[in-house]
């Protein structure tokens, strides 16, 4: 048990030393998002005029589904795919994130293409309206808008360096606020670990 607790602590310390992924760029022109189109069959969707920031390690196209299909994403400059990635099926909601190999330099005027096969499930493309000249294209057909796309990169600040900021923000979104909330959460976690340990030592000897 002591070894397990040590392992958990070490793993938690490693996670905290790690810098979380941050948003490096989004193409969203408006804070709100609308349904651009939806697909219920094999689809290849392409959107030109994107900017791929340097060091991008993941791209998040705003696709929504209940049980999403396997998705392949390509970032194409000219005729060449400069970054590509794939994600398995079963993703849900809007949490689709496709990992790609990072580029050293930013590239402008990139076309982002997303392709997948679905038979029944409806996949929604969420974004914003745009003029036809800059609109995205799905299976060769122009759409009434553009897909919202977010570009992610590893952050420069570790979780540890953000702990005070996180502790401050945990107090927001409540009427009763104060540092006691963080203290209470820490006490509950300590109590949880202590009680589990007591129960294991007492009952499994």
């Amino acid at each position: 048990m002591a070894l397990s607790l040590l392992l958990i602590s070490t793993a938690m310390a490693l996670v905290l030393a790690h810098a979380p992924t941050v948003l490096s760029r989004t193409n969203r022109a408006l804070p709100t998002a609308d349904l651009v189109t939806s697909a219920t069959g094999p689809t290849r969707f392409c959107q030109a005029g994107e900017y791929l920031p340097a060091g991008t390690t993941a791209i998040r196209p705003w696709l929504a589904a209940n049980s999403g299909p396997r998705v392949r994403l390509e970032a194409i400059s000219g005729t060449r795919a400069i970054a590509a990635g794939e994600t398995g099926s079963g993703w849900t909601s809007r949490e689709l994130t496709v990992s790609v190999a990072p580029l050293k330099h930013a590239v402008s005027d990139v076309t982002i293409c997303v392709s997948f096969q679905v038979r029944d499930e409806e996949v929604e493309f969420v974004g914003f309206p745009s003029p036809l000249s800059s609109a995205a294209v799905s299976n060769g057909r122009p759409l009434p808008g553009r897909l919202a796309i977010e570009y992610l990169r590893p952050g420069s600040r570790s979780w540890t360096s953000q702990l005070l900021e996180i502790a401050r923000r945990i107090q927001f979104g409540r009427s009763l606020t104060g540092h006691w909330i963080v203290g209470l959460l820490l006490a509950l976690t300590a109590g949880l670990v202590a009680l589990v340990s007591v129960a294991l030592i007492g009952e499994l000897r």
């Binding site: 397990s4 793993a11 049980s67 299909p69 909601s93 038979r119 996180i166 945990i170 294991l200 007492g202």
Partner: protein, 487 residues
């Protein structure tokens, strides 16, 4: 009755109380760290309670525009930007917090109920009636305070769940007391139990009532169905049926269990057997019977919201059964593949259990789901070994096993039937693992068996490792939630 309940709980071992305390603490943690309304359908459940507490009537419309003061709170909390947008964290600045406090303080004193309660509208009222108590106690406070106290009350159901999972394991596997603790503790720290029970959601109560039901049936099999036990089972079933519609999934198995337990009583007295069966079924089904009668008088579908939820008038039963089968298992030769390119058991259910929080928008990195297969396979192998070694005992308890299997199949079929109503537009509409949690008692038994599968010498060590694995899962899930909303 109260004295009997006190005697019953007083006989619970100390470890059962520890499991209850741990589950409650865990759910309280989840209730604090999860931002207001960032749990699936929580605004709708809150609206139901508001309507019941302020007007004494149930909501009548399932449209998603809730009472204005709830909508103000949701907007001030940036709910619609945060929900399903993992890159958008919860409130991030003092200015937004001040604005939030100003808006939510305006919700004090507005008490016109909420005639609309979204997806909660068709649900039975018991849980909401209980939650009306903390709601009314804080009715002079802003909505977030009311929600916080309601969430705290819900955490008590996590405690009841963990305690009765422990008690069920004690009845089902009486030989090795240390294994009861393994199953009870692992369930107590299960993150999904904390996440759901730490929110305003009738499922927290459903898990508790289901765990009590499993325990009572196990008691009937081990000690015989007495009249007292028949009454208790009847009351529990009645409570379950007015807690959440999903409880009905357990019903075929419960009826089968009662029938088998009564047949055993009939070996000594036929009259007693019939009486006890009738008492349990009569008490248990009376709330549902009243609803059917009311619907008959109102010339509405007899099964009410249940009718639509199960897609009873859509397609052939064979197609529906085929769909429900494939929702969990590989499709059979000669049948149409309803989930091409998707293996639901792994991608929906296993990954969903490993980590899918918030409005299904909070996930671990992909490697975590792959890594989680290792301990899952190890636990499954240990469990299989324990089952193989106790095959003789299993044969002698086949009828009991069939009852638990029927209860599980009922729950699974309900999820499948309800999802089938949305198919093919949506492959698996109700694809959330929280719907499996009424079967937590069986999950606890499987974990206890896995520990026993390591043998007499190494069993307790394996058990401790299983509990620590579940604790780690819980702590990292909480860290994930904190990172997602406040990072």
């Amino acid at each position: 009755m109260r004295a009997r309940a006190a005697r019953l709980l007083g006989r619970a071992p100390k470890a059962a109380w520890l499991c209850a305390a741990i589950a409650c603490i865990n759910a309280v943690s989840w209730s604090i760290l999860t931002p207001a309304f960032q749990v699936p359908d929580e605004p709708d459940h809150f609206a139901y309670v508001k309507q019941l507490a302020e007007t004494g009537t149930r909501p009548t419309s399932s449209i998603s525009h809730l009472a204005p003061e709830i909508e103000w709170t949701l907007r001030a909390d940036e709910h619609y930007q945060v929900r399903q947008q993992p890159q958008h964290t919860a409130l991030a600045s003092e200015a937004l917090q001040e604005q939030f406090k100003a808006v939510t303080s305006a919700t004090v004193g507005v008490s016109h109920g909420s005639p609309t309660a979204g997806v909660a509208t068709g649900q039975p009222p018991l849980y909401y009636a209980l939650e009306a108590v903390p709601y009314l106690l804080t009715r002079h406070s802003p909505i977030p305070d009311r929600l916080a106290l309601m969430r705290l009350c819900s955490t008590l159901f996590a405690a009841i769940t963990a305690m009765f999972v422990f008690m069920f394991i004690r009845e089902a596997l009486p030989a090795e007391p240390w294994a009861w603790t393994v199953g009870g503790l692992a369930v107590a720290v299960a993150p999904l139990l904390g996440f759901v029970s730490g929110a305003v959601n009738p499922e927290g109560m459903l898990y508790a009532v289901a765990a009590v039901t499993f325990y009572l049936l196990a008691r009937a099999f081990r000690r015989g169905l007495t009249t007292r036990l028949a009454v208790t089972i009847g009351v529990t079933v009645g409570i379950g049926l007015v807690t959440k519609l999903n409880y009905a999934g357990l019903l075929p198995g419960i009826l089968l269990g009662l029938a088998i337990a009564s047949v055993r009583v009939a070996r000594t007295s036929r009259t007693a057997a019939l009486w006890r069966f009738a008492v349990a079924v009569g008490i248990g089904l009376s709330p549902a019977g009243l609803v059917v009668l009311a619907n008959a008088f109102a010339r509405e579908p007899l099964l009410g919201a249940f009718h639509g939820a199960l897609a009873l008038d859509k397609g052939s039963l064979l197609d529906e059964l085929n769909y429900a089968w494939q929702l969990y298992l590989p499709h059979l030769p000669g049948t149409v593949d309803d989930f091409p390119g998707l293996f639901p058991a792994r991608q929906i259910w296993f990954n969903g259990y490993v980590g899918l929080y918030g409005w299904l928008d909070t996930t671990f990195p992909l490697w975590v789901y792959n890594f989680a297969l290792l301990p899952a396979v190890a636990i499954a192998l240990l469990c299989a070994r324990a089952l193989f070694e106790s095959r003789a005992a299993l044969r002698s308890r086949l009828a009991e096993l069939v009852v638990y299997a029927t209860m599980s199949a009922g729950v699974l079929w309900m999820i499948g039937a309800a999802s089938y109503g949305y198919f093919p537009g949506v492959d698996a509409y109700f694809s959330e693992v929280r719907y499996f949690l009424p079967m937590l008692a069986l999950f606890g038994v499987l974990l206890a068996l896995a520990a026993r599968g390591a043998g007499r010498r190494w069993g307790p060590v394996a058990g401790a490792l299983i509990v620590m694995l579940f604790l780690a899962h819980d702590l990292f899930s909480q860290a994930l939630e904190i990172g997602r909303y406040y990072g």
